[in-house]
């Protein structure tokens, strides 16, 4: 028991120490070499910028996170529903795959301005762009997942005369979950990219807008502050997905740990 506790402490301590060391080297480098702040601010200057107006960062993070999560949920749900249809019929899959692929390979930055024209500057275009960028990985993983049923389990359910509907809910949907979560792990960082790109282009609000303004002002400490906040958001989202995954997929042996 005690040994396990010690090991856990060690697991947490090592990366914390490494991060602290990196920051210390950074800080020292900037001070000793007297690096200009607009080129590379010291960690202490970034921290000062963050603490100078924490509300601004928090509000930006909230709005960007809202767009990212909204887009991710929309894409996951839409992709799963479409995946059910595609897993059901090869013809439908063949018909729907090319447009889905076209959506995937088109650079999101090129399409995003259109969304601003159509949907204005509010939450809607941001959610849609985040949804667009996460849609394809969710779709592909859902289709593969829905097809990945154990044929033995399927045979058994058929011999007891289970309906297609029962097979779907009892076997197909649970079998797809490991793949859906794999898709989510890919999509979480993408959804943040989508949200920030949308904010870059519309300049309305969120962390993206914050970066845009700081960039215009040559306010590099704020710029770095925004980057750190974005990184923290990514970690938070990924960790949340991993936590839910571990709860839901407790039965899945090769479930990847965060």
């Amino acid at each position: 028991m005690k040994r396990k506790f010690q090991r856990n402490i060690l697991i947490l301590l090592t990366p914390a120490l490494v991060s602290a060391l990196l920051l210390a080297v950074w800080e020292t480098w900037v001070r000793v070499r007297d690096v200009k702040e607009y080129l590379l601010p010291a960690p202490s200057a970034i921290l000062a910028a963050l603490l100078d107006d924490p509300g601004r960062f928090a509000e930006g993070a909230r709005l960007s996170l809202q767009a990212a999560i909204g887009g991710l949920l929309l894409a996951s749900l839409g992709a799963f529903i479409l995946a059910v249809a595609m897993a059901h019929s090869r013809a439908l899959e063949r018909a729907l795959y090319p447009p889905a692929l076209a959506l995937k390979v088109t650079p999101i930055v090129a399409v995003a301005p259109l969304f601003t024209i159509w949907f204005g500057f509010g939450l809607a275009p941001k959610v849609l762009i985040a949804a667009m960028i996460t849609f394809f990985p969710m779709l592909v993983n859902s289709v593969v997942g829905l097809r990945s049923i154990d044929p033995r389990a399927h045979d058994f359910l058929r011999t007891i005369n289970a309906s297609t509907w029962q097979v779907f809910w009892r076997l197909r949907v649970p079998s797809s979950l490991p793949f859906v979560f794999a898709g989510l792990r890919i999509s979480v960082p993408l959804s943040l990219i989508g949200a920030v790109v949308a904010e870059f282009l519309s300049g309305s609000d969120g962390i993206g807008q914050l970066i845009l303004i700081a960039n215009g002002d040559f306010d590099t400490p704020v710029l770095f502050g925004a980057i750190f906040v974005l990184a923290a958001m990514g970690i938070l989202l990924t960790a949340s997905v991993a936590l839910v995954e571990r709860k839901v997929l407790f039965w899945y042996q090769s479930s990847v740990r965060l």
Binding site: R152, D155, T159, I160
Partner: protein, 279 residues
């Protein structure tokens, strides 16, 4: 366990009747024969073992009887009707080598699922507990399949197959992946359950010993495509016990079955051939 209602409506005809069955499956642009001209009858309450080398179509035969695969030629009737109708009667039980338990459900829920498929039942939980007790795994009711040994999983598969008191239990190398000790245990466990349930069993196996030890009749399949080489009546007393394996009659039956298999093919891997035939 009495089955009075069943006894009254048991038709006099056999439980399974296979006539001139053949099956071909597509490989690329051609079709390959899996079975040809197979005749097989399973009477009510009879235990029939089907044995043969890898690739002789044993699993295909079982899948056809289970109504999972429509045959490309010949007739199959189960319970006096076609296999689809037989499936709808929910009087079939299926146990395969890899039983396909649902890994996200615990043992009790895996068994309960079979009951749920037909709709809500009163006292379902008590019934599941009783079933788990019968196959000796009630202590593991809250375990997940991934936490169980292969033998334990097969017990769950057996309990699950027994839920609706099947008239016909179909088993595809159910003990093939087990260690020798669990296999020995499961064989006698199965015989006990079979005697209680008075059901018919079609038991596909690679093991000559297993076939002779368990069955009333052993159907020897050979060749590619598979056909019935011979059917051997196993006139050993029941209930069968482990001591039977020393009896001269058992040994001579064993030799008969082995002779049939070896004369047809010179493969040396008959007993321990690779599991998982093509379908």
């Amino acid at each position: 366990m009495t089955n009075t209602s069943r006894d009254s409506d048991v038709p006099p005809e056999p439980v399974v009747e296979v006539r001139h069955l053949s099956h071909r499956y597509p490989v690329g642009n051609e079709t390959v024969g899996a079975l040809t001209g197979v005749d097989l009858t399973v009477n009510d309450g009879e235990f029939v073992a089907v044995i043969g080398p890898s690739g002789c179509g044993k699993t295909t035969l079982l899948s056809i009887i289970a109504g999972l695969l429509p045959p490309t030629g010949g007739q199959v009737s189960v319970f006096g009707s076609d296999t689809r109708a037989a499936r709808r009667s929910q009087a079939l039980g299926l146990v395969t080598q890899d039983p396909g338990l649902l890994p996200w459900l615990d043992v009790a829920s895996n068994v309960l699922l079979t009951l749920d498929i037909t709709g809500p039942h009163d006292g379902a939980d008590e019934y599941v507990t009783e079933l788990l007790e019968r196959v000796g795994i009630s202590r593991f009711a809250r375990y997940y399949p991934g936490q169980l040994s292969g033998g334990m999983r097969q017990r769950v598969a057996l309990a699950r197959a027994l839920v609706h008191h099947p008239r016909l239990l179909l088993m595809d190398e159910p003990f093939g992946a087990l260690d020798e000790i669990s296999r020995e245990e499961m064989r006698f466990e199965l015989l006990k359950v079979w005697e209680q349930e008075q059901m018919s069993v079609v038991f596909v196996t690679h093991s000559i010993r297993e076939a002779v030890l368990l069955a009333d009749r052993v159907v020897v399949l050979t060749g590619q495509p598979g056909r019935v080489k011979d059917v051997i009546e196993i006139d050993l007393d029941r209930p069968r016990t482990a001591s039977l394996e020393d009896s001269p009659r058992y040994l001579s039956l064993l030799a008969d079955v082995r002779g049939l298999l070896v004369s047809e093919t010179d493969r040396s891997d008959l007993v321990h051939a690779i599991p998982g035939n093509r379908r």
